[in-house]
Point group: C2
Amino acid sequence: MSQTKTPRRTQAERTRASREKIIHSAMESFAQKGFRGAKMADIAQAAGLTGPGLLHHFPSKTHLLMEVLKERDRIHKEQTDETLQKNNNDILEVAAELVEQNQATPGIIQLFNLLVAESISPEHPAHGYFTKRYHNGREAWVQIIAQGQAQGDIRSDISADDLGVLLLAMMDGLQVQWLMEPEKIEMARIFRVFVNLLKNRR
Amino acid sequence: MSQTKTPRRTQAERTRASREKIIHSAMESFAQKGFRGAKMADIAQAAGLTGPGLLHHFPSKTHLLMEVLKERDRIHKEQTDETLQKNNNDILEVAAELVEQNQATPGIIQLFNLLVAESISPEHPAHGYFTKRYHNGREAWVQIIAQGQAQGDIRSDISADDLGVLLLAMMDGLQVQWLMEPEKIEMARIFRVFVNLLKNRR
DNA sequence: GTCTATACCCTGATAGAC
DNA sequence: GTCTATCAGGGTATAGAC
């Protein structure tokens, strides 16, 4: 098992493993306490090292946050692309499945929910990140919604622009109630009820 | 103008004025930075006094937060009752008008948006407050929605329970996008688009 | 690459004068 | 009722050993 012949590579792998562990525990802490409330020492301890040990991998708390967001984006893009491909162009079904998937990872949802709220302040380190993310994200949805309207799958008495806003808003809004009472609010089911309102009645 | 004859009453009035000033600036700070990010000294300075001066009126930061929430509840209840009375039983119109009113007070909306996100953590001092608030609030909406369904104003192919969740979710979700791009997202107009989806088509 | 020790700042809260 | 001075605690980040 041990690779004594290639210590350099083993070292690099160990570094990578540490970074991943740190990012993972950072996600949990930021989700629970937000960027402002999370403590570096706690994140470090959960990753099996001390504060300074963590700071060897990420030069500051802000840097760590950015890496967390980047990592999450990578996963999210993968997930979305895959779901998009599976349900070719059926944007409403894609949205519904994304909400289903979200329901399996409350930690991540809480993370984004809290960071978005914090980052509305322009001084917040993730302010630019989230404004851009929302802007681009909405634009992407609107594009595909317009396609759905052209194909006759989605009702056309509401503009694609408005539908994009409504779709994102419902995703965000349901998350809040679901995070508060996960046992009571059936997020995915209720989201499908909403989605049905947007379908073109043939 | 000056009431030299009743120093006791003048004193009391001055105290009351101080408390109001403090609560007002606390609202702004909590809205901008959240409970965890807001600094007592800043709140005090914005209210025209020092940290200890503030703490004479509110024994701790948590106490101050609770008073802020109570104060907001008072105003909100007034507003809701008034709007309810004006549009007797037309719950959808009431909701739409509330969103319109919200659009005039971005500070308060940001305050609640951020505090709700923070308070999902069970250790947060406002956790109990917001879980209760959402629970009761939703229950109240559901009741009135059921009335609207019985009268034939609201579509009945979706349960009142689900409609209540959807209505609150859309309010919350639109707020996020609107807070990020106030100039671009026409919250009240788009909410009315949504509300129209819930009306019974006669 | 990770540790111990620590510097240094920030923040909520207290003590006591006025 | 508000101030100045100050404390105690907790936070990020650095220095330097191993």
